[in-house]
Subunit: 200 residues, 2 copies
DNA sequence: GAGTAACGATACGTATAGTATCGTAATGAT
DNA sequence: ATCATTACGATACTATACGTATCGTTACTC
């Protein structure tokens, strides 16, 4: 669905350079104008390619955006044997990603569009879930080690840990600093490690 | 800035009915199509008024949206003498607002637009801040009572408490349930009440 | 070097934005 | 009662810009 098939082995091959230029331009424009204001024409112009070159590969802007978004780096996994350390390392490295890529502008735009675009919501559900993977696995390791009680609601715990970042990103729009991670994780984990909350 | 002045005392007065119909239609469309796809023409059609009637009162869709958004109910304040109870009551009532108004669709849309629309970001900064008012005041009361240490970073604490709601709203799009509030606040407050985290 | 498919560019038709203006309706002043 | 004034809903107008179709050219296979 993402890419139209390159049909024959004969003829001029598709340009990999154009492919990358298109994806880069898509991310740039996504960050600048958002999903709904993004147009294939705008991407073509920014990428220095013809519109047909884009439509030949992607049926519409939706799969184009999906592929471009998927190319952004995800969360790196760390396994230090300590949940707090894992989370801190993971979030610090992820904040680095936010601050060095278009992700910090792209993510709010897509999340906002999700609310009134069921098709986009559907396509991004698995992508979004997969992005949380390393976080979930860190919690699961902590449960397996006996570091936290199996009764803790892991989904809620995860939301608690990343919540402040989301709030900062969506409502404050401020730069994220790796220095906020330490107190954030400590504060969030205090109740989780004590096994204070049973499952909801 | 929000409303063009009703200039003279003579002539036909502006219709209050049309005013309300326009604001209602704006919220509806904001929830359905989002900010950037919202057009004054669409609002006029939905509200059953002429476009001129809208442009006579608002210079563009931005102040129109600001006024429509401002008409949505905010967070109710509770003062029970216990921080946990205050937060639970406030969040439960606010979730009711989310589930009975267009807020749950409007908020992500505006938050997403904020990322690439500096003008909207600027206009909504004070509005957004004021919306958090009751939450901040509950924490300040808790500090005054000695319930939590003055060294706790209140901004971070607030983000921690509302974070899971934000995550749910932006990434999962699931209905918010008042039943999630109890464990959520308990989990979040565990570290805050212990004074576990010093200021960042 | 003939055949084929992708390339960037661009012309085309359609849709819809915001502006300007229409005749009508409702109020206050004379 | 009549007139002046302003708002009303409707619509014609102009410009922009979307996606589609097609151009001559380029790159690669056989």
């Amino acid at each position: 669905m993402t890419t139209g098939e390159s049909s024959a082995s004969t003829g001029r091959p598709r340009s990999e350079e154009a492919h990358r230029a298109i994806l880069d331009a898509t991310l740039e424009l996504l960050a600048e104008v958002g999903f709904s204001a993004l147009t294939v024409e705008g991407v073509a112009s920014r990428a220095g390619v013809g519109k047909a070159t884009i439509y030949r590969r992607w049926a519409s802007k939706l799969p184009l955006v999906v592929e471009a978004f998927g190319a952004l780096p995800g969360m790196e996994d760390f396994d230090t044997g300590d949940l707090g350390e894992d989370l801190k390392k993971m979030l610090r490295s992820y904040i680095q990603v936010f601050n060095t890529t278009a992700l910090s502008a792209v993510l709010p735009s897509l999340a906002g569009e999700r609310a009134h675009n069921p098709e986009l919501a559907k396509v991004f559900e698995p992508v979004s879930l997969e992005r949380r993977g390393p976080l979930v696995r860190a919690f699961e390791r902590a449960v397996a080690r006996g570091e936290i009680s199996p009764e803790v609601d892991l989904a809620l715990a995860g939301d608690l840990v990343v919540g402040p970042i989301a709030v900062c990103l969506f409502f404050k729009g401020g730069r994220l600093s790796p220095r906020m991670v330490g107190p954030m994780v400590d504060l969030a984990l205090a109740g989780i490690l004590d096994g204070e909350a049973a499952s909801a």
